[in-house]
Symmetry: D2
Subunit: 143 residues, 4 copies
């Protein structure tokens, strides 16, 4: 996995961000935030980011996670907060990506690329023009 591009490490590249509290449960025997716990923080940030987009979900659709790729750039600690920033990356016919980054103490400590895919009956597996416009309206600003 290649090192993230510089714009991925800048908070201002993302249209949405929110501070997330770390928890004691996030620590592992190495005394730092565990890599799976960081995946949970990214999931939580994604769900909060998705709250406006989810209004576009049709009842006969499911939005499934097809892939998650996380780069761990620096160690991350408890009890300081972690800011999770997110925006939409690429949009295909049936799938799209959410690009996220985690910040602690002013540094980007991890990035996360999540691929979502539409499932359901054939007629519901295509991203409509309206949904595409909504996704683009929440796009990241690439450097």
């Amino acid at each position: 996995m290649a090192r993230p591009e510089p714009w991925r490490l800048a908070l201002e590249s993302y249209p949405f961000s929110e501070a997330s509290q770390t928890r004691f449960q996030d620590l592992d025997p190495m005394g730092h935030i565990n890599n799976v716990a960081m995946a949970g923080l990214f999931e939580n940030g994604r769900v909060r980011f998705n709250r406006t987009l989810i209004t576009h979900k049709r009842d006969d659709q499911r939005w499934l996670i097809a892939a998650v790729a996380i780069n761990y750039l620096e160690e991350c600690y408890f009890p300081a907060d972690v800011t999770i920033a997110s925006g939409i990356g690429d949009v295909g016919n049936r799938s799209w990506t959410i690009l996220s980054a985690a910040f602690q103490g002013g540094h980007c400590v991890a990035t996360c690329d999540t691929t979502l895919v539409l499932t359901g009956p054939a007629s519901s597996r295509t991203i409509t023009d309206e949904f595409r416009a909504a996704l683009h309206a929440h796009g990241v600003k690439r450097g």
Copy 2:
């Protein structure tokens, strides 16, 4: 993220595998094994796979997770077991990858590529010939 190659989906490509119990805690509101819970199952499988390799870790070294990339191929359920299979992929000067796959009901439900990197004083950041040989001895069988 590209679809995994066919050999990635075959249990016999991996030198190590172990059945892992699923837990009620792994379920999310969609009623399936949550994607972050699957990351925890892969971590657990990696730790169990690592038990022989970890004897090569020097006291002044830390083995940090630099990246984790998971493809979710099929939904996965509780309470059936999940078999986590793992083997070594690429080996560089300072980092290496563990390639894993999860199987349930005879199907590959997810794959996971984990990149580990040596950290510590400069003298401990290079993979020695002995460790390299041990890693290759646990390599995956690419198709």
Copy 3:
């Protein structure tokens, strides 16, 4: 909380038991199985124990957890398995208890008392004779 009675610490007091794998995620910075992780292991054991009893659940009922009380008797470690044993304790008009114990290396490391309560429309909040008989059939053997 009083020390558990001797019969609570004996595997043969419980009508149901099953080995549960521990996971790396269960460890905390003290290097032992975390107390919340142990609560998750007990929940998992309860759900597996409940698989026969749950056939008595009416569609208009919900079985809610009203209380969980855990005694931590000895430290517990990864990667050895933990056996979770369970049986029914007291049965009231609307609630009942599941009494559980966790064993590792032949010792009881923790006990758990869980109180469940029926909720739903008024007509569904009473334990029927049939359900009461099923609960008693899965009762613990008090010393």
Copy 4:
């Protein structure tokens, strides 16, 4: 387990409180905050409450959790915050209790009684007068 006394349900009975974010990971298939997840929220609140008291911990001591008893009073949801309030309850020769309560939407949704015990060499297993005074200074206000 008896229903908590009225003072246990009042935020002002506790000398310390802090808002905790809920996470998507806290949800279970019933769509509410899972009971084990609530145990994790209480743990996190305890750790944050303990930050001043922990300065009294001697290096040869370990503070182990001996018991946790949680009453689940109302269902609790994501994504609203949960306020975890804590104070010291009883103090013995070697153990003490932390009494906590969780609030969401202005209601007490759960209470938690945690018993901690000193372990280590015999000389370190007694609560000193100084530590006792510190514990009492953080005591709950019983109604």
